[in-house]
């Protein structure tokens, strides 16, 4: 009997890089690798969870780590111990794949948002977010730009993800964390820190600096067309900026409050099906092959996502933008994967939108949101 087959569910941008790794893997072990191309969303995660107990789901799933809580609570993924092979990874990447004290995955990329500056329009390096707004306003007056800065929002759901760095700069983190950096289902967005942020949001809305109707496409297009000097975005927008041959610099988001502005870090990771058909080969593939720096680089090249391995990050000299993103990601806060986060997302964005649009008193709206979320948790 041969060593069989591995089935890996991956996105279309991951497959070219994975194919190179899989070729080496097959040469060494004889295990053939089949790819199932599917984008990760709520539906594909639900399908994986429904199919896994029947032994139908793929052996390996690549997913952002914020789905980890749901996958682990359903018992469909196996614990993955990297041991010494995890030493090369950044602390954020390792924390993100740990749930309830158990390590479940092998990370390959860490993403977060940062500030991108159009160097052709300005060379300013604002220290605080208010400085940035002032520079943006000056550019509007002097050079006739449309916006002081651009940032992705959603008129229906809001976009707390892109605004989180501003929120943390006031010290209002979403959940409390234990000494290992793992999140506890204890909401910490309230209090005076949260209220200060709510007031700041209301001010951003009142001045028109921040608009809830600015969807991702509108924000990106405006920046590419030179209508704004600063663009708050993740590394996924870089491809289009490169295509437009823009002259840009990436730097951390300047804080709006007294503390450091720390965005969310999203970690892309490999998870192993607990009821897969070939679990030993799957564990071998993720722990011994994906952890190699050259595999991490191959995935970086095919996806454009900053790698999770420090060695791989050091080998990206010809890509200053993404190197900068990788450096910023080290101080970012991993997105919570605990189930309580589901309750947060549904109220968080709509409350922020209401504040920015001036539909009520900011502190009152923020307090309502806190009590609604606490009611659901």
């Amino acid at each position: 009997m041969g060593p069989g087959q591995l089935r890996i569910q991956a996105g279309d941008d991951e497959i070219p890089g994975l194919q190179q790794i899989a070729e080496r893997f097959t040469d060494a072990t004889g295990v053939t690798v089949e790819f199932i191309q599917r984008e990760i969303n709520a539906q594909s995660i639900s399908d994986f969870i429904a199919q896994a107990p029947m032994g139908q789901a793929p052996d390996i799933l690549i997913s952002p780590h914020d789905n980890l809580g749901q996958l682990a609570a359903n018992g469909v993924i196996a614990s993955v111990e990297m041991g010494d092979r995890g030493e090369d990874f950044t602390q954020n990447a390792l924390t993100a794949v740990t749930y309830d004290g158990v390590s479940y995955g092998v990370p390959y990329a860490v993403e977060c948002v940062a500030m991108v500056r159009n160097d052709d329009l300005t060379q300013d390096e604002p220290e605080t977010f208010d400085d940035l707004r002032a520079v943006g306003r000056r550019l509007m007056d002097e050079q006739g730009l449309q916006y002081p800065f651009t940032i992705s929002q959603s008129p229906t759901n809001g976009d707390p993800y892109h605004l989180y760095a501003l929120q943390t700069s006031f010290g209002a983190e979403v959940f409390a964390r234990d000494e290992d950096g793992e999140y506890l289902p204890e909401l910490t967005m309230g209090g005076s820190e949260g209220e200060q942020f709510a007031n700041y949001l209301a001010d951003l809305g009142e001045t028109g600096d921040l608009r809830t109707s600015m969807t991702p496409d509108i924000a990106k297009e405006a920046f590419i067309n030179g209508e704004s000097g600063f663009h708050l975005c993740g590394p996924w927008d870089l491809v289009d900026l490169e295509a437009a041959e823009m002259n840009c610099t990436v730097f951390p988001i300047p804080p709006a409050g007294p503390e450091e502005a720390r965005p969310f870090a999203g970690v892309q990771a490999f998870f192993v099906n607990a009821n897969g058909r070939n679990p030993v080969a799957a564990q071998d593939f993720v722990t011994n092959w994906i952890t190699q720096p050259e595999s991490q680089l191959a995935l970086y090249k095919s996806t454009g996502r900053p790698p999770a391995s420090s060695t791989a990050v050091e080998q990206m000299q010809d890509d200053p933008w993404r190197t900068q993103y990788a450096v910023i990601a080290e101080t970012a806060l991993p997105m919570p994967a605990i189930p309580a986060m589901g309750a947060v997302w549904s109220f968080w964005g709509t409350a922020q939108n209401a504040i920015v649009d001036g539909r009520g008193e900011p502190q009152q709206l923020w307090e309502n949101m806190i009590s609604n979320i606490e009611g659901q948790i």
Partner: protein, 550 residues
């Protein structure tokens, strides 16, 4: 299948003789031929039937074997019964089973795609199937024991080789330490092996054991998952477990299943007991995840009316759902009918071009149209506000009532071409003479419309309007793509929005926020089904009365 065999009926000469050559009618074949089952002779029809049945049998038997292979007994039994029935129906002689030959394929599809789905939804509504209650109790116990093992602090990483005992084939692990080969198995701790060889830092041979190669290692996942090799005689040192067959770590268990009390026991003595809720529960009420599926009776239905869950907004959402469905049907039908009447004038030049243009919205993919509409209605950047209203800033999707109006308008745009189409068809089928005689009797245009057009139209269109109502009642796509049910009611803990209809509300409750609750969703689906069924039944009665007028 029936039609193919019929068209290739045997003795075509006999048939044609009957119809075109009357003098050939003396032959007895044409008279008896239609009565004989055309597939019982050995003509072309029989061969075709034989091939088709052979394919069906082959496919069915493959399905049965596959179902047995994965232990799906219910599917296997269903396939066996269906296959036996198919063979009996198509091979048994006799006219009495003739109707069955036509009905059988339809019945099978009905069972698979309708009856099964309805029964399964009904079954799910009484379970707690959802996130955290995904599989069986055995799966949950195995997963909990596997997951809650703690790596012994400060313990090294062990490169290991998997061995198989020559005596009983039980697995063992070998590792190299300071050039010395250590071997251990399930019951015996790691100990130096007497006759062992190693090269390049890996164990190559051990006396009394066979060294497994890669293929053999990955092909014994169950044994490997259960294998725990004690590091030493001291349990505190932990036991080695390898997940990938080449690297092992020392673990101590933190949760173990106790058969006697049917509970998970923590390392610190906490007992997590099974209290029938589909999870192990600690004395202070905390639940272990994963749990498993159990029956919960009417709990899911009770949740619908529990104000803490969704009982609060349930009534207002139901009212809006009825309003949305009724207004959508009425507005699309009225606009469609109006345009159909206008373009029904035979004297109108180029009316086919107008018809084609009116039909356009129906030809676009509905998903695309709905998403584009959401963009057009954007308050600051949307084309409607920017160009049509020159920067008016109308909050199309942000104000509750404007958002309701917006989804109705988008749905009107999406839906009127269909109504236009069916109305045009129905108008053309009304006999011209009726209008002529009505005109002779002195009826004016309004009277003719009320007494002839409308009743005649409703007979043809009525059932379609009911179908359209049922479709709009569950028109998830338009709501989700245009507003996602928003704007959200900021005071409600359920996350309900102003434009949420029942089905989008169910989706929010049961699936959004990363937690799936299939049991609750199934219970709500059944309630929605009952509502649509009652409304349809009542209106069908009315449209039947209409038919009797005719």
């Amino acid at each position: 299948m029936a039609s193919t065999t019929r068209s290739s009926a045997p003795e075509p000469a006999g048939n044609s003789a009957e119809t075109t050559l009357p003098w050939g009618a003396g032959d007895s074949a044409p008279a008896t031929e239609p009565k004989r089952a055309h597939s019982r002779g050995f003509g072309v029809g029989f061969v075709v039937k034989l091939i088709l049945m052979a394919l069906i049998n082959a496919f069915g038997i493959y399905g049965i074997v596959a179902a047995f292979g994965v232990g799906s007994w219910a599917i296997a039994v269903f396939l066996i019964l269906a296959l036996i029935a198919a063979n009996l129906i198509y091979f048994l002689p006799g006219r009495r089973i003739l109707p069955a030959k036509y009905l059988f394929p339809g019945l099978i599809f009905l069972l698979v795609f309708q009856v099964f789905v309805i029964l399964y939804t009904g079954y799910t509504a009484f379970t707690n199937y959802g996130d955290g209650h995904n599989g069986t109790k055995e799966d949950a116990i195995a997963q909990l024991e596997q997951t809650y093992e703690q790596r012994v602090e400060g313990s090294p990483q062990y490169p290991v080789t998997v061995l198989s005992s020559d005596d009983d084939g039980a697995l063992a692990l070998a590792t190299l330490q300071d050039g010395q080969v250590l071997v251990g198995s399930q019951d015996t701790a790691l100990a130096p092996a007497a006759n062992a060889e190693s090269s390049d830092g890996s164990v190559t041979a051990v006396d009394g054991y066979e060294v497994l190669d890669y293929a053999e290692t990955v092909n014994s996942p169950e044994q490997l998952a259960e294998l725990r090799v004690p590091v030493s005689d001291d349990p505190a040192d932990g036991a080695l477990r390898t997940a990938d067959g080449s690297t092992a770590f020392a673990y101590t268990p933190t949760l173990t299943y106790d058969d006697g009390q049917d509970a998970m026991v923590d390392a610190d003595g906490t007992v997590w007991a099974d209290q029938g809720t589909g999870a192990f529960v600690s004395p202070d009420g905390e639940e272990l995840r994963p749990g498993w599926q159990v029956f919960v009776g009417f709990d899911n239905f009770a949740a619908v009316f529990d104000p803490e869950v969704i009982g609060g907004p349930f009534l207002s959402v139901t009212l809006w759902t009825f309003a949305f469905a009724l207004i959508s049907v009425a507005s699309t039908f009225l606009l469609g009918l109006l345009l159909a009447i206008l373009l029904n004038d035979k004297n109108l030049k180029g009316r086919n071009i107008y018809r084609a243009i009116i039909f356009m919205p129906y030809a676009f993919p509905m998903f695309l149209s709905a998403l584009i509409w959401a963009g057009l209605l954007n308050t600051d950047y949307g084309w409607v506000n920017q160009v049509l209203l020159s920067g008016a800033g109308v909050p199309w999707l942000e104000d509750p009532w404007m958002a309701r109006l917006s989804v109705l308008l988008v749905n009107l745009w999406l839906g009127f071409p269909y109504m236009f189409l069916i109305s045009t068809g129905a108008l053309q089928s009304i006999p011209e003479e009726l209008y002529e005689s009505a005109a002779m009797d002195g009826a004016g245009p309004v009277r003719r419309f009320r007494s002839i057009t409308l009743p005649m139209l409703m007979v043809a269109v009525g059932p379609l309007l009911i179908a359209s109502f049922a479709m709009n009642f569950n028109n998830f796509n338009v709501i989700y793509l245009v507003t996602q049910g928003g704007p959200q009611d900021l005071d409600s803990t359920t996350g309900v929005g102003a434009t949420d209809i029942l089905i989008s509300f169910v989706y929010k409750i049961a699936f959004s926020g990363g937690t799936n609750d299939y049991g609750l969703a199934a219970a709500l689906s059944i309630l929605i089904f009952v509502m649509v069924a009652v409304v349809s039944l009542l209106t069908f009665r009315r449209s039947k009365a209409l038919e009797e007028i005719n």
